[in-house]
C-alpha cells in the first residue's frame, strides 16, 4: 500500500534525478560538473557501506581503508607502471576484495560495537600502512600526477563533462548491481541478520558466511569508488583513508537514511556539497556538518529520505481527508 501511495512521488523523484544528473550537466559551469562528479563517486562509496550498515546492521568504521587501498593501486600502477584504465580498475577492486577476504575472517564473528571497533582498528592499519610504507606510498606526501584514464575512445576524459558522464555510467551500473543484490535472496538474508541473527541461525542460515560475503561485496564497491577517486583527484594521500574519512562515510549513510541505497547516495551528495561549497566561505564547515548531524538525529533519525517519505505520506493523507 505504501508503494502505491508513493509511486507518483517516486516517478517525480526519478524524473528530477534524470534531469539533474543526465540532461542538465552540459549547462552547468565546470565547477558544478566537477562537484557533481565527486558527489557520484562518494555516492557509490556511501551505497557500498549501506549494504553493511543499512541492510546487514553492521557499522563499519574502516570503510575508507578499502576506498584508499584501491586508490593507491591506481596511483601506483598508473604513475609508475603506466598501466591502462581497465587493468587499474580490476587491480584496484581486486585488492579491496583481497583485503576484505582476509579481514572478513576477523570481523564477521563480531556484531554491534565489537564490529565497529574491529573495523575501525583494521581501517587504521591500512591508513598506517599508507602513511609509513614510504617506499611504496610516498608517505604523507601522497602520490600525485595520476592522469585521467585513456579508454581508447575518441573522446578525451580530461574534459570535466565527459569525465562526469564516464563516472555517471559506472554510478548507474553500481546502483543497479546493488539494487539487484539487496532484492535478491541473499540481500533478503542480510536483512534477516540485521533483524535477528539468533533467529537466522536457528532457521538454518550460516550467518557468519552471510556477514562475511556482505563485507566482501561491500568492500568491492568501496574499492570501485576508490579507483574513480584516484582518477578524479589525480592525487591520493593517507588522508583519503584516515578515520575522519571513514566517519564521513558513516555520516553520509546515516544522514541519507540507512537501508535505502538512494538515501546514502543523497547523503553523500549533501555532504560533498557542504564540504566543498561551505568551506569556500568559512573555516568552520565541520561545525556546520556537526549541527546537521545533530539535527538529523533529533528530527529525522531514519535519515532524510525516510523523513521525506513520511512527510509526503502525511500530506497525502491530509489531502485525502479533505
Amino acid at each position: 500500500m505504501i508503494d502505491l501511495v508513493n509511486s507518483r512521488t517516486k516517478w517525480i523523484g526519478l524524473i528530477l534525478a534524470v534531469l539533474i544528473l543526465l540532461v542538465m550537466p552540459p549547462f552547468y559551469t565546470s565547477y558544478w560538473v566537477t562537484l557533481l562528479t565527486q558527489m557520484l563517486i562518494f555516492a557509490i562509496l556511501a551505497m557500498s557501506l549501506d549494504i553493511l550498515l543499512g541492510y546487514t546492521g553492521l557499522s563499519s568504521f574502516g570503510h575508507a581503508g578499502f576506498f584508499g587501498a584501491a586508490g593507491y593501486v591506481v596511483a601506483i600502477l598508473s604513475t609508475r607502471y603506466k598501466m591502462g584504465f581497465l587493468f587499474c580498475l580490476i587491480s584496484g577492486v581486486s585488492l579491496s576484495v583481497l583485503i576484505s577476504l582476509i579481514f572478513g575472517f576477523l570481523v564477521a564473528h563480531a556484531t554491534g560495537v565489537y564490529f565497529l571497533i574491529i573495523t575501525l582498528a583494521l581501517g587504521m592499519c591500512l591508513w598506517g600502512l599508507a602513511f609509513r610504507w614510504v617506499s611504496m606510498t610516498d608517505g604523507d606526501n601522497g602520490i600525485s600526477g595520476i592522469l585521467r584514464p585513456d579508454i581508447g575512445l575518441p573522446i578525451a576524459l580530461k574534459d570535466p563533462l565527459t569525465f562526469y558522464y564516464f563516472i555517471f555510467v559506472f554510478f548507474l551500473i553500481a546502483l543497479i548491481l546493488m539494487t539487484v543484490l539487496i532484492r535478491s535472496p541473499f540481500g533478503h538474508s542480510l536483512k534477516g541478520v540485521r533483524e535477528s541473527e539468533s533467529r537466522m541461525r536457528v532457521l538454518g542460515y550460516h550467518s557468519w558466511l552471510h556477514k562475511y560475503l556482505a563485507y566482501v561485496v561491500s568492500a568491492a564497491f568501496a574499492g570501485l569508488a576508490g579507483v574513480f577517486w584516484a582518477y578524479y583527484n589525480g592525487f591520493i594521500s593517507p588522508f583519503d583513508m584516515d578515520l575522519n574519512a571513514s566517519i564521513e562515510i558513516v555520516l553520509m549513510v546515516i544522514l541519507g537514511g540507512p537501508g535505502t541505497l538512494i538515501g546514502p547516495a543523497l547523503g553523500a551528495g549533501i555532504i560533498v556539497f557542504l564540504k566543498n561549497f561551505i568551506s569556500a566561505y568559512t573555516q568552520r564547515w565541520l561545525l556546520i556538518l556537526g549541527s546537521i548531524y545533530i539535527l538529523t538525529i533529533l528530527y529525522a533519525p531514519q535519515g532524510l529520505i525516510n523523513f521525506l517519505k513520511d512527510w509526503l505520506q502525511e500530506r497525502q493523507n491530509k489531502c485525502k481527508k479533505k
Binding site: 539487484v180 535478491s184 533478503h188 534477516g192 533467529r199 536457528v202 532457521l203 542460515y205 550467518s207
Partner: protein, 255 residues
C-alpha cells in the same frame, strides 16, 4: 545389537545422559529421553527446571558439557546450529524472536529459503522464485495471516506474532519441531485456536512442546515428561502424571 533395535522402532530423538554446566550451575543434569518419530511430547516442569535449556541444547545454541544427542541415530551433539536446522530440527522461542521490521510475508519467505542453496543467489530478485512464493502463500493462508501479509511484524498484536512464530518454523517443513511455550501470553481463546492448529499438523512431524498450562498439555500429548531442577523426574501418560504425587508437590508445593 543396535541394529536390531532400529528395526523395531526408529526413534527421532534420543538424549543420552545429557548435561550442561554454566559455571557451577548444572542447568541440565543427566537427562535421558527417547522420542519416537511422529510422537507428540510435552515437557513440563516449574521455572528453572531446564526445559528451555534442553531446547537450546537440542537446537545447538549450547554445546553439551556431557552426553549425546542422537537425531535419527546420527550423533549431532557437536553440530553447529545451522547444520542441525538443515537436518530438520526447527524451534520457536518463548520470547518472540522475529524479524520485526520486515513484513509477515518477508518473515515467512526467510524461512522458505533458509534450507535451499538459492539463499546465496545475488543476481536474481527474490520475487522471481515462484516456488518459495507459492509455499509462502500456502503457509500464510493456513495460519490465517493472509490478510496481514504486508504488515510489518512489529505492528501486529502479540497473538499474531506468536502465530507467525509457529508459521515460520513450519514453513521449513521440519522433521522435529521444538515449540517453546507457543501459547505464552495468549488469551484463552487464542490458546484454543493455537492448540487446534497444532493438533491438525502433519502427523509425521515429531513435536516436543514446552507448556505450563496443564489443560493444553493434556489435550495435546499422549506422553508427558516432567523435569525438575535440571533432572528427569518422571514420564507418563496423562493419568499417570495427574496422579503423581511428586508432580503435585513440585507444582503446588509440599506441606
Amino acid at each position: 545389537m543396535e541394529k536390531g533395535e532400529n528395526k523395531k522402532s526408529d526413534p527421532c530423538l534420543v538424549l543420552k545422559d545429557l548435561s550442561i554446566d554454566f559455571g557451577g550451575l548444572r542447568a541440565v543434569d543427566g537427562v535421558n529421553l527417547t522420542i519416537e518419530k511422529g510422537e507428540r511430547r510435552v515437557l513440563m516442569g516449574p521455572n528453572g527446571a531446564g526445559k528451555t535449556t534442553l531446547f537450546n541444547l537440542i537446537s545447538g545454541i549450547y554445546p553439551p558439557s556431557r552426553g549425546k544427542i542422537l537425531f535419527f541415530d546420527k550423533d549431532i551433539s557437536r553440530f553447529p546450529i545451522h547444520r542441525r536446522a538443515a537436518l530438520g530440527i526447527a524451534r520457536t522461542y518463548q520470547v518472540t524472536n522475529l524479524f520485526r521490521c520486515l513484513t509477515v510475508t518477508e518473515n515467512i519467505l526467510m524461512a522458505c529459503q533458509a534450507l535451499e542453496w538459492t539463499k546465496f543467489v545475488m543476481f536474481k530478485p527474490l520475487s522471481s522464485y515462484r516456488r518459495h512464493r507459492d509455499h509462502c502463500d500456502t503457509v500464510l493462508k493456513e495460519f490465517d495471516l493472509w490478510e496481514k501479509r504486508s504488515e510489518l511484524v512489529k505492528n501486529l498484536s502479540h497473538g499474531d506474532q506468536r502465530r507467525i512464530e509457529v508459521a515460520m518454523v513450519l514453513a521449513e517443513k521440519p522433521k522435529l519441531l521444538l515449540l517453546d511455550e507457543p501459547a505464552a501470553g495468549l488469551s484463552s481463546s487464542e490458546t484454543q485456536d493455537l492448540t487446534l492448529l497444532l493438533k491438525k499438523l502433519d502427523p509425521s512431524i515429531t513435536i516436543v512442546l514446552i507448556e505450563h498450562d496443564l489443560d493444553v498439555a493434556f489435550e495435546f500429548a499422549e506422553k508427558i515428561t516432567v523435569l525438575y531442577q535440571g533432572k528427569f523426574l518422571t514420564e507418563g501418560t496423562k493419568e499417570e502424571i495427574r496422579n503423581n504425587s511428586t508432580v503435585h508437590e513440585i507444582y503446588l508445593g509440599s506441606e
